[in-house]
Subunit: 349 residues, 2 copies
Amino acid sequence: MIASEKLRQFTQEVFVACGMPLVDAKLAADVLIEADLRGIDSHGVARLSGYVRLYEAGRANMHAAHKVIHETPSTATIDADGGLGLVVAPKAMDLAIAKAEQVGTGWVAIQNSNHFGIAAYHAMKALPKDMIGISMTNASPLVAPTFAKERMLGTNPICIAIPAGKERPFVLDMASSAAANGKLEIAQRLEKEIPLGFVQTKEGHASTNANELKNGGSLLPLGGHKGYGLAAAIDILSGVLSGANFGPWVPPFVSFLNPLPNLPGNGIGHFVGAMRIDAFRPASDFKTNMDLWIQRFKASERISAEQPVLIPGELEFNMHRQRSQEGIPLHPSVAEDLQSLAQKLSLNL
Amino acid sequence: MIASEKLRQFTQEVFVACGMPLVDAKLAADVLIEADLRGIDSHGVARLSGYVRLYEAGRANMHAAHKVIHETPSTATIDADGGLGLVVAPKAMDLAIAKAEQVGTGWVAIQNSNHFGIAAYHAMKALPKDMIGISMTNASPLVAPTFAKERMLGTNPICIAIPAGKERPFVLDMASSAAANGKLEIAQRLEKEIPLGFVQTKEGHASTNANELKNGGSLLPLGGHKGYGLAAAIDILSGVLSGANFGPWVPPFVSFLNPLPNLPGNGIGHFVGAMRIDAFRPASDFKTNMDLWIQRFKASERISAEQPVLIPGELEFNMHRQRSQEGIPLHPSVAEDLQSLAQKLSLNL
């Protein structure tokens, strides 16, 4: 268990040691620590050494200066200058929010970026402004389309964050694959089988083997062909609309795999948006109804008396409160990884 | 088999016989016939008598005059005056397109409406304008949230239509439930079992019985809790943001069930949007990359040589071409239903 503030300080110092300006390092660290606080362990400091390796491989620009390369009153396209999505995505969201303040909604496509951490961080920036926030990204290909045995799509997550009144906000943050890679890794560690529908073999057969991905298999889209369509739409909005890479050309997050030759775009792509509630109806009316929505859904007749019906984001809010007080538990392999990072960069943890 | 033009003429006459102005009746008929042409038989003329029964029950205003009740440069909210979604949704989409022409994107929430047919009809209006179209709606509660045994959400569909260059557009049109009710009805007719994950019993147990919904059970969301989150987000954007009803309060499509008392909103709700491609990057660059996207995905390594990988919308485009030439096959029960409608309204079919 480690206090989140200690972990935040260390994360920030790691980015600074890689040449990132302090203001950007604070932002990147905040995105990672929020993931750990929310209980999304796979997207927090567990990835820190991965970002550093991307930098060492010359594939992440730590002093990137993003540029708006196209613009209308409600839209913009940003070239992230090869920097980290952790840094550019919150800034893109700020721009979307500023446009929404002016004309009701704002939508920003980002190209030439790298992985942006948890989608929820970016979408949730809209909440204090009484706006609905949306964020999505494409990612390294691991998921096979329906009827295919080839990895063509990332686990392409989408987040939609919706403010409420007295209740906590509705925050749906989900991968468009049946399971994210993190779930498979947990099953691998425990040497357990995984449910059918998560992965297939490299020949395209159903499998319950958590190691199938290592054997050349692929992840499966959420609920079959609909999940394929959803992942594809996220890929197109994030990749094709922004001018980033898409589909099988999305550069891999892991530094030991090289991007494919003849890439059709720049880096990986994201898409974020903000919609002012009062661009549609008075925010107070909306929030009153959102509170009613949340209360009514929590009161749905339960299958089992012990298991309440959950609102998207509820578990993460609870985890955030708990870990803010008690600290963040680090898996031994992550703790070790951070220690060797500290040693390499002459930092203390 | 019946020629689509004959069916279109009849459908139009039915709406006119219910007091709908001719221009609106043409539009409503077009939405239904497009569903049949695209092979979405459950959403075409099979529903015509359902709309008539809603009118007879005083729950559909056939001479509705929709009103814009809230507006910003990129958004609007429409009160559909209790009319059919078939009529108001295309008009809302026209408004979204007009706003996108002005400021890059346009987003319209609709309240006080009724069922809008296939989502694809509305979203696809954006395609000839070189825009991405989005449409969604909430619907009568049939789907249980994860851990619940109560019907709280509709099959809430979402469509995203994306233009390409030489290739046909990408058109994802999907329910957010694991299966739409139509699939269950087909299994009922054939007295076949359905896959696990489509429905649950009224106690919330897994079931393969296609009649489970009639027994008080519920549909299940796509792929479990993620599909619940997706259906919920569609419900909130369509219902809460517009000021329509939401969740279990969405008025039933079937006229023999009455809406609940003390409704929190007006009618059912939709949400549509249009994004100009060249608000993000030149449309020709985008279309070149979309063609590449489509060609590359069609060329994905197949699991079986006989089953090609499909692009969302591909089957519907093929069906549209075939049925435009050969006519629309009507299930005997639908043909009978239309004949009794003809008799009742003194029309010829």
